[in-house]
């Protein structure tokens, strides 16, 4: 875990929030640097939305500290934040231009500036001729774009996005990604939550991983990928033979969910210096029957499985 930097626009320390009936977060710490795009990764129920809602003041944390732009998170500092909730929705009877300007004005923008910003943003995403259209008259994708513009219109310094690309077609995704790139180019910071590793790898330069309500990794994307384990996924019916072969090359095995007939999936973690052919040789020498052998790519997904999966599995066991 990294120490806070002076350029952090957001700092969260030891955040705790528990709900009746379970769920919440226990120890979340993270930071977002100015001009960075931070991916907030975790499986469903890991506590991403709870953390974001605490940051935005939508719910009160039980413990912990949240600092925005170097000061306490209060009404004034939160007005410098744009937010796109996971649950999207706008007033269907409202016109696109008015909806964007309304959200900008709620954040303190003057009426004339808010309308200008709405016009500029609508033109930017190719909806220039539809500013008078009611939300209910727009396609689902266009309505989602308008909602994203509602978060952007008041020119925030930090954009918090909860699953920003869900429900968007590839064309809309690419338009929105270019909007985010433009926002970042202007010095804005983005914190976005996702459970899509590919989205996180495409968008972010820093990542925060959450598992079972705790931060399990925070740092540059490259560091996360570098920490990914080296190894392979092996499907075999001879678990004992696999264990002997893995130990012979200095590795270890972990069970993975999903059986294929009598065979089981295993993850074999190898030391960096041990190559895949070396493991295959050891398996062949032990006459271990192999149904499938898939080298693990050292990417964000592998890093996530390595860091977050044990905690998530422990949580599931506790719940069971």
């Amino acid at each position: 875990m990294e120490s806070p930097a002076t350029s952090d626009v957001l700092q969260v320390r030891d955040l705790k929030k528990r709900f009746r009936g379970g769920g919440g977060v226990d120890a979340v710490s993270m930071s977002v640097r100015a001009g960075s795009v931070t991916g907030f990764i975790g499986v469903n129920g890991a506590g991403k939305s709870t953390t974001l809602r605490c940051i935005l003041g939508l719910i009160q944390p039980d413990a912990g500290e949240i600092r925005l732009f170097g000061g306490a998170a209060d009404g004034a500092s939160r007005r410098r934040v744009g937010f796109l909730p996971e649950e999207r929705g706008l007033f269907p009877r409202e016109r696109a231009r008015e909806a964007i300007a309304f959200h900008a004005r709620l954040k303190g923008m003057a009426k004339r500036d808010a309308l200008k910003a709405a016009d500029r943003l609508l033109e930017r995403i190719g909806l220039a001729g539809r500013e008078r259209a009611r939300i209910e008259e727009l396609s689902k994708g266009n309505a989602q774009r308008v909602q994203i513009l509602c978060a952007l219109a008041h020119a925030p310094d930090l954009l918090i996005l909860d699953e920003p690309l869900s429900g968007l077609d590839p064309v809309a995704q690419s338009e929105i990604l270019s909007l985010f790139a433009e926002f970042r180019g202007g010095g804005g910071a983005i914190l976005f939550s996702t459970h899509s590793m590919s989205a996180a790898e495409t968008l972010s330069d820093r990542v925060v991983m959450l598992a079972d309500g705790r931060t399990v990794f925070e740092g540059p994307l490259a560091d996360a990928s570098a920490s990914a384990p080296h190894g392979a996924v092996v499907v075999t019916s001879d678990a004992e033979g696999l264990l002997v072969a893995a130990r012979a090359v200095g590795g270890a095995i972990q069970p993975m969910p999903g059986r294929i007939g009598e065979a089981t999936r295993w993850r074999v973690v190898l030391p960096r210096e041990v190559t895949h052919p070396a493991l295959m040789r050891a398996l062949a020498e032990g006459a271990v029957p192999i149904f499938a052998f898939e080298p693990i790519k050292a990417d964000l997904e592998a890093a996530f499985w390595d860091l977050a999966a044990p905690a998530a599995a422990a949580a599931r066991r506790r719940a069971a």
Partner: protein
């Protein structure tokens, strides 16, 4: 905060007022009133009335003459007619004029109060329905979170109250204003509707009606926002609001009974749901009015606090979720 409240209020007002259907519905009331005025108006010469004289044989050989109410003769004329009957009538005995029962008189002030009560009650229930929808809409459209991220729950509560309240006052103002305008152009002896409307031409009556309406809307409006905040969807909202509308119905009939002079209802003025309507139907001493208004203000503030607290909870809370919150409220009250 004030700016955000007005912004939300303006949005709510436009959502309802900037539709053609709203203006059509708004015009219907005054038009109906004008039509009723025309239909019940009397011309310069009263229409021919049916009147009768009944002669009834009495046991002792005399005859009693009874004139029907509204018989077009003065008392002297009637006495004259009895004399003619005694002199020239072929009757079995002397004719005696029966005692006339006084015609029951309807107090025009009571009529005006009734009319005001109906007007206020109808506008209030319609507006509360709009307010309930305005609150539930945010949750069911899933727009509440983005709104809460930009504005506080109190901003949303008061913004919605003011926005829908503005629409409601526009409706009420149209009713009262058109009543006053019709009263000014209708002749005083122009029929039952005209005589009813005469009361609306007095500025004091209009001011009292608006004042009572604002009080009623503030209390019931804030209660409605609290109920709407508890609801997860429209069906939930309808179910939760039903007891409140039942209370409103009880209040309506109680206020009517109170206007008719039913005894033992004075104390109801201290119960916030009854306060505005009892004040309208039964004039009270200043001390009573002030105490009742203070209690109403406390109840409205409690409803506002509850509404803002519940609105913040997402998803909408179930009753067990509210238990610790209500306990905290109890503790705060005990401390106070």
């Amino acid at each position: 905060m004030i700016g955000r409240i007005w912004l939300i209020a303006g949005r709510e007002f436009r959502a309802y007022a900037l539709t053609a259907s709203f203006w059509v519905a708004l015009a219907i009331g005054p038009l109906l009133m004008a039509a009723a005025l025309l239909l019940t108006a009397q011309g310069p010469h009263p229409a021919l009335r049916t009147a009768s004289l009944t002669l009834a044989q009495e046991g002792a050989g005399g005859v009693t003459a009874t004139f029907s109410p509204g018989f077009p003769l003065s008392a002297a004329g009637k006495a004259q007619l009895v004399r003619v009957l005694n002199q020239d009538g072929d009757l079995s005995g002397p004719v005696r004029l029966a005692a006339e029962h006084p015609k029951p008189k309807v107090d025009p002030d009571v009529l005006r109060r009734f009319a005001l009560l109906v007007m206020l009650w109808m506008t209030l229930t319609g507006s509360l329905g709009m307010l309930l929808q305005a609150v539930v809409r945010e949750r069911s459209n899933r727009a509440l979170e983005s709104l809460l991220a930009a504005a506080g729950p109190s901003d949303i509560v008061f913004g919605k109250l003011l926005g829908v309240g503005g629409v409601s006052l526009l409706v009420m103002g149209t009713w009262l204003g058109s009543s006053a305008a019709l009263a000014l152009i209708a002749p005083a002896s122009g029929g039952v509707v005209a005589s009813l409307l005469q009361g609306f031409a007095r500025p004091a009556v209009l001011a009292q009606a608006v004042g009572v309406y604002v009080l009623a809307f503030a209390f019931y409006g804030l209660t409605t926002v609290a109920v709407g905040a508890l609801a997860r969807d429209n069906a939930d909202a309808q179910n939760l609001a039903r007891p409140m509308f039942a209370v409103l119905l009880v209040v309506f009939f109680t206020a009517m009974a109170s206007a008719l002079g039913a005894h033992g209802m004075g104390w109801l003025v201290y119960l916030p749901p009854f306060t505005p309507f009892i004040l309208l139907m039964q004039p009270q001493p200043a001390g009573v009015v002030l105490t009742a208004l203070a209690l109403l203000a406390i109840a409205a503030a409690t409803a506002a606090w509850l509404a803002a607290g519940v609105l913040r909870l997402s998803p909408a809370p179930s009753f067990p979720d509210l238990r610790p919150w209500l306990r905290a409220w109890g503790r705060a009250r005990r401390r106070a």
